[in-house]
């Protein structure tokens, strides 16, 4: 009699577990949706006068976790280092014009090349745990990836090189443009980034 009761409860528990498992699988089953994509809108258009000295493009792996949820993805980051010529400060020292090299602009974006962002795997250490990352969580992970990439750009000396190139180019260009001798001053040869 007792054995029958244990068997009954075991079957009931197994059935309940199966139903829960199937319900979770059913809820999380991939769904195909329609995508309605709107026309592109111009949100900003502005003139610029920038000297561009270094450009880069690199594939970067993304490996991150939040609690027991993990994500592995790959992104192609592209960017450049430029200098806004309109904001270059000038002063006179005797008959020499001192031009101060402006702070560098290091722009890092996700590339627009096809396949520039690919989610390779998402998983949860817990059985039946959600593998979903919210948009805010994913954005936060990507922001950190870009911040790390920016640090790498400075650490590898790309900015130092870009500033040196910009100083040389400006010196060559402005010396002949001006009636007075021109000197380029660079108060931060390694760049302005403060980690």
């Amino acid at each position: 009699m007792k054995l029958l009761s244990i068997l009954r409860w075991t079957v009931l528990l197994a059935l309940t577990a199966t139903v829960i498992f199937l319900a979770i699988r059913f809820k999380n089953s991939p769904e195909a949706s329609t995508h309605k994509i709107q026309q592109a809108l111009v949100t900003e258009i502005k003139p610029a006068m920038e000297l561009c000295t270094v450009e880069f493009i690199e594939d970067v792996p993304i490996k991150a976790h939040i609690g027991t949820r993990h994500i592995f993805a790959r992104t192609t980051l592209s960017g450049f280092i430029s200098f806004d010529l309109d904001s270059a400060a000038t002063r006179m020292k005797g008959d020499t014009i001192i031009v101060t090299l402006p702070p560098e602009t290091v722009e890092i974006h996700e590339s627009t090349l096809p396949g520039s962002y690919e989610v390779i795997d998402t998983w949860n250490e817990k059985l039946l745990g959600s593998t979903r990352f919210t948009t805010a969580e994913e954005n936060d992970i990507k922001r950190k990836v870009i911040d790390n990439f920016r640090r790498k750009i400075y650490a590898k000396g790309y900015v130092r090189q870009a500033r040196a190139d910009a100083a040389a180019t400006l010196s060559q260009m402005l010396s002949a443009m001006s009636a007075s001798p021109v000197e380029i001053s660079d108060p931060a040869p390694g760049g302005y980034f403060k980690p």
Binding site: E31, S33, I37, A48, A73, S111, V119, E138, L174
Partner: protein
Amino acid sequence: MLLSALLATSLSGCREKPSDPDRTYYSELRAVKKLVVGRMTLSKMATIDDIRLSEAQGLKQTASALLAAIKPGSRKAAYSYDTYLRAYIDLEKLTPADISLSADGKSMQLTLPAIEIEFTGRDAEIREEHYRVTGLRSEINADERAALKEEMNRLLKEEVRQNPAFTSRLTELAKTKAVTYFTQWGRSQGIDVSIRFKD
């Protein structure tokens, strides 16, 4: 600011003009290489919604539409992100023939390389404008967002390629900026510069 200072000093200065001005100006300008003269930001938005049974095409879509109809709840979302373009002049394409200085050295004909436009990238992040997934509907995950962004990117590039209105606005603005810059540069040399662009 930079040009104003140069202009001020050159008017009061007394440095000699270069012996071969055409060549000197050509080398100076060519050394700049890539001069960025304009920027543009484009925004793209997309929505995710269920496939209606009446609109479903093929077996796969019909099965998805059926599944969506069976599952209780709603599944709707909207996402957007920005893409960046810039207009530039590749001064390395300048040839000695593009700079012609008059005999008296007071006027110059400068033919600049055509304004070129390129994509510099897009936001790595995506903006979630709306999100409503209820009932037993599956959440929208990173995979689906990545696939959507890829599709948005493909369509945006196609749109920019097919609709010259996007690039012509940026090109015009960039030309105006370049003309102002090089005219001022010429003035700083005491030269009246007439600027043209190659096609």
